[in-house]
Symmetry: D2
Subunit: 473 residues, 4 copies
């Protein structure tokens, strides 16, 4: 839902559970908790110890599954996936988990992140006669594993992981074990929980609250964990692990009720808002947030600034994917879609409008203009993160849109473009401090590449798409 | 969506427009704005001046309509309806607008409210040979109009309205005119807007913001308005009109961005919360609201009480109607559905939990217990309206559930049942003051019957259903 | 399926059963047997003695019903209907059985035929305030019954039938009895069967073979029969009854395995073919029939003429309603649809092509040309009925197509238009003799109006549609 | 449709066209003509010279395709497939054409027949790391082609074909050429046609009549043909080619309007019936055929025997896949499904019932008993092919059913089991003579293995399924 407002899209969420009588149903609830990470497709694969069996489909979790389908997924262990699919990557065959059968047994895989050398690896594999069914990175890993010969599954996976580069939270399952792995920089969130005796894994901890599990621990960068009927076995597959968690997970992607590295997201966002109020020092009559992701930051801002927090912008909840878009003509006549102003709240007021980030600037411009038409005398835009100047190669789809406005324009230019009376971005230092990080650069434990251009991994210029290269110049 | 959380259901929303090239499409957007008033069915009927043509269906507006269907509804005027359907009232045939063709022309009707003498009228009509297709009140009015002989449509409608009792906002359309009528107590909201030269009508003003219309005025109690190509003509059909607007529209039903009688709903709710904080005088660490309807009241409470407002409870947005419900067993093991606590926010805290009303008490009890399990040391429940002790006969479906907890139990008993550390209801006087009303009883301009038992109309004991009679004892 | 080949459409089939544990399922099988009489919609209504309950839908019986739906129709008695719906008569609301509930009980009706004074009756009823939901004749009868006051249902039905004119086989059911009625000329087939102790009724006897029932007797013209738990009670409602069974039922509509008035349809058609061979006296190499309806006549023709019968034309079975029609361009390049020639069978042969009737002539012309392109040296068209010169007002939809070719052209002109080497129609006398009738005109027991223009009832000029009037000039 | 009556299932039909503006639409019509060869799934892949693009689905051609989908398949060349899928082989992923994309281009394949060494080949490929998506033979060929290195596509295909054994009519397409290949025994029909300048290929010639193409020639055993913008190039890939066309194609599978090796199927069947009448020498009153496949043989029988041919058995056309099957109880009470007797035709008659083959005997037994219950005094069963004693390994699914009755029982025993008054099978010699073959055994040009046990290829015992081995003992 955030997708077409923001132009910022996460690539996925994964969930898994081993050894629970209601494996498919719990995975179904788990995927619901992760639905905000991907609304284009969903799938669940179960094992009953003998055979893998799965259902996948396009759309929301509830579009894909009903009671009968979930009940047909018999087994005591399961993995599931929700996906976002950018342009040209759609189609049922790209919905995960990827499931393959062979005479020696089945294997299923799902993945959150992006392999930056996937094109190179695919080329090499095709040259050797491999037939690919999908355009997804996940199938590349599947082929690498299958080509690894007569090793135990865990060792085949380690072989394969030694060849891939990028950001990834992988989850794999055979008939008899569940394997998870996090990239050496730990760029995507992944954690372990426990429900009774059964281990579960999830991209976000909010899933544990929904299913009544307790949080055990985060998965470490470069860690590979095997879960089977003997229990949980963890080891490192990479020596050079060093944490660089995606900062946008705190700012925008994760759910407010999730925790990452021990920090609650709502609290982190409220702190970002408080820090922003300190840095901005605006005089105004009301503070309002852009729903839903900026509400926490706006509340924090209001609290610190001592300005009342109000619902100045409302989201039209039922405007979903099937909504008939207004024609250009109707739009010009005033027909709105996702967001409406609350006239009585903003009329004749100086308004602080808190948002979490600016990507292209078009949505921000539209909201400023909407507030002014509704009678706001001043609109002060306060962004609870630094200007986003650089593309992401680790699974966030900033690059399908023409351009990052902040890579081309100064803050003052952006202010003018969006028509605000003032525009404040949170500083890089303030951002890190608000989420409890110290230091700066490589050692801060966060990936700040989209703000600073310091990428935690090498970037492979030959595998970049043309527009990506241009963005990198 | 609120329905199964709260047990309080509005019965409908209506929208209409006369004389606009995009009549069907604008009605579609209008119904979207009113979607919260009814999610069981939706319909639109258009006229091109010669013939009425309509599409209806079960489900959300977006389930019923797509681009092709909206485009097939050619015409320059339209009426639309969203409905909530209680048990035994479902089925496509009960979805409105009701549309009938005869050799002398067509007629379409839609309705928000409840006719309290509908059963009597239906019995009389059937005795005279009328065949009913539906179980809805609306068809009763249609038959009364059709039996009114050779008068002009407006006069037929007045004849028919003179026979019906209850709460209603009616909207009717023939090939050549649109007629709206509000009951003599004006118990349901209904207002007029203007988009260019075209008049539109809507149950709530939030529709005007979405479609870019301007608000003109509220419809008065006992008023009948005819809109046609000559313009708008208003008259009174009842001399005994006296305003008794449903108070729950302010407290719970209407959207925060709507205004009723000049009062913004978000602002009214924030005032209810402020008044509640004054009356309650609670010491606590955090204030949290039950999403979505109580957020405004919670913000107001926090502001007045000087306690930080936090997201202590989160709503699982994607849990819709098709969600597979957890079995009793899974529920006991902790699987939640619509609402989850944000552990890090409430842990080791004294929590004020603001809600707008208590109907049966079961949801409230579940939330209190959820907050305590998440580590809250104290939970103080503060309700931004008085105890709801009496059933509603005017279109709010309190009566399909066993019992109103407040009609059977004292406040202290309720507190014990729901397991709260304290329980505060807003007073009747505080409620009226917060929404800007003065006086008390019949003259206050509001219907307070569910709180006080003072019904603004006679009640017809013979037409009450058995359980309704019991509730009335 | 025949519909777009021939341009001749029956209007319906009815089936009913009283007092059988599997009432809905048996009705489902019965409707399957009658599927050829109507493919646009189907419905079943059951009674369990207390309440009527029904399901209707557009499409084939199998499109409308599945196992779950049939099982949901609990009850021991049922009526069902399959319908053909001409242009402008479509829509779910016109699918039968028509079902109405009132405070005094339910009533359901279904009908095969056409009421020729339906428009007049509808006008009178609307003037008295009746609201119609459909455009079907059946609802007119429902209103007439409902307006008949405080009589027993049987007497209300007799009252109502005394007002209607035309061809009809009606089937009605309340919670406690099943009533059937046939028009005073018995123009539509309707018979009674018995399965164990349970009576059933059907438009055609082929249903009895499928469900394992035994044939009891045909319903008589002007007869009204009540079936309830006491058994079967028959009486006359019209004194002026005189049989005029539709001859096209023998020639074209009914299934070859049905019997009408004791005559098997396949045998009747074979006899029509034999008589045609005698009258035509053609020299040829092969005889072929146009599938499916003319196969029996072609076999009879071949037997009498001593010419081998071959499959010279084949029907593409899977070309159903959803078939994508070839564009004009592809059609000209040779793409065929429903019928293909069998080249090796007709090449270099003199071919007798037997068909049952010619309506517009376009299909016949296309088949002749197809056979010639496939190499037939001569094509002799032999039609097993007389030229169809007059429209039908009794439920056969000849009149939705521009024109009956035989009302405008001589046999020689038609031969030239269709491009045949010879064209022979069976004589009126030969037709009657082949189906075992003697005499001619009013006393022959058959309706021959479409051939001779002698209509068995008055025709109401004022209620004819404009194009019908033109056809009657 | 024949499937559950007979227990004999063909495995597929293929169609292709190169260089025609309406490639997808013509393929759609072609697949319609082949629909009887497979009703479980259908697919079309097109090329516009640059990219392959396809749509596949489960069900009939008309279930899978609509106008919009066909129009979305832009391109000037196409291949298509209809499939029958036995138990455990279902699922969308097994629907053909199989389509694969790689960085060096796309490839699509479809196939009619059975590779008898597919399991062996698949095992070897998986040991080398190949990942299979389907359980179909076709994918084995795809992997063999892809592993063939840097050759031209034609040579890769020849490499791959040199490794496979069995019966196959393959059709392959890249962006720039269409390749077809027939196994060295030419066991499945495959021919070439021409529509304007465009070559097309089809499993059966009946497709050419429907699309207005002219027949060019049959594909020869062991022939590989490349069609591209330069024209058609044919060569042999196998030196040991010797014709052994499946005899059941004449007896049962192919459409009556197709020709194989210059012989029309209807004519061949009529000749089989004539030969059978000569061999059987039965005295009777009527001859009837089991619809649809035995009609031609019955007509031939009747002509030679001088006994009238009648419609004694009728097929219920609308009883499709979605038909609700009668319960055992209803079946015992007489509810029939696909076939009904025509009582008036068989009552008190000595009936010759002509059928084309007996597989398990259960259907035959049911029909005999049905005819006797309908009053036939004698039922003489005459089968227009020899007893089927041996399983087929070349793509005909006789082996999914328990047993071939003729491999276990003598003719007299079968007669007693099915309850007939006499039972006659056509002799092996008579069968060959009727379809114009001379000689006997290997040199007759036909595969008679199911009758005689003389298989035209080696049989691979290790790859047989357990029940197949048992059948081979």
């Amino acid at each position: 839902m955030f997708a077409d407002i923001k132009g910022l899209n996460e690539e996925c969420g994964v969930f898994g559970i081993w050894g629970h009588a209601d494996a498919a149903q719990i995975t179904y609830y788990g995927l619901h908790s992760l639905q905000h990470r991907g609304q284009e497709g969903a799938g669940i694969v179960v094992t009953d110890g003998k055979r893998l069996n799965g259902i996948r489909g396009e759309g929301l979790v509830n579009d894909v599954f009903d009671k009968k389908k979930i009940e047909s997924l018999e087994g005591t262990s399961a993995i599931g996936h929700v996906r976002y699919g950018g342009a040209g990557k759609g189609g049922l065959e790209n919905v995960q988990p990827f499931l393959l059968h062979s005479q020696s047994g089945g294997l299923t895989l799902a993945h959150n992140g992006n392999l930056i050398n996937a094109n190179d690896l695919r080329h090499q594999l095709e040259m050797q006669g491999s037939i690919f069914q999908t355009t997804s990175d996940t199938e590349v890993l599947a082929h690498l594993i299958k080509r690894s010969g007569y090793l135990a599954l865990k060792d085949k996976v380690k072989n394969a992981l030694s060849m891939v580069k990028g950001a990834y939270a992988f989850i794999l399952m055979s008939e008899t074990e569940l394997i998870i792995a996090l990239d050496p920089n730990g760029m995507r969130p992944l954690s372990i929980g426990k429900i009774g005796d059964a281990y579960c894994v999830s991209s976000e901890t909010c899933a544990y609250d929904l299913i009544g599990a307790e949080f055990v621990r985060d998965v470490e960068p470069g860690e590979l964990i095997v879960i089977n009927d003997e229990g949980l076995h963890a080891e490192r597959f990479s020596l050079s692990a060093s944490s660089a968690m995606c900062t946008m997970e705190y700012v925008y992607f994760s759910r407010p009720d999730s925790d990452i590295q021990g920090i609650n997201i709502h609290t982190a966002r409220k702190n970002l808002g408080k820090m922003l109020a300190k840095e901005a020092q605006i005089e105004a009559d009301v503070v309002t947030g852009v729903p839903d992701s900026s509400i926490s930051a706006a509340i924090g801002f209001a609290e610190t600034a001592g300005i009342p927090y109000e619902l100045g912008i409302i989201k039209n909840r039922y405007v979903g994917r099937t909504f008939i878009k207004p024609s250009q003509e109707l739009r010009e006549r005033g027909v709105k879609m996702k967001l409406s102003p609350v006239r009585k709240v903003v009329e004749s007021k100086r308004v602080v409008m808190v948002d979490d980030s600016i990507v292209r600037g078009t949505t921000c411009k539209r909201i400023v203009s909407m507030l002014k038409e509704a009678g706001a005398t001043e609109v002060h835009v306060c962004i609870s993160s630094p200007p986003m100047k650089n593309p992401c190669f680790y699974g966030i789809d900033t690059s399908t849109h023409e351009e990052l406005i902040a890579s081309e324009h100064s803050v003052e230019e952006i202010r003018e473009i969006i028509g605000a009376d003032s525009l404040t971005f949170l500083s890089v230092e303030g951002t890190l401090e608000a989420i409890g990080r110290k230091g700066y650069g490589k050692d801060c434990g966060q990936c700040m590449a989209c703000f600073t251009g310091e990428y935690p991994t090498e970037i492979y210029p030959d595998t970049l798409l043309p527009y990506e290269k241009e963005l990198m110049r």
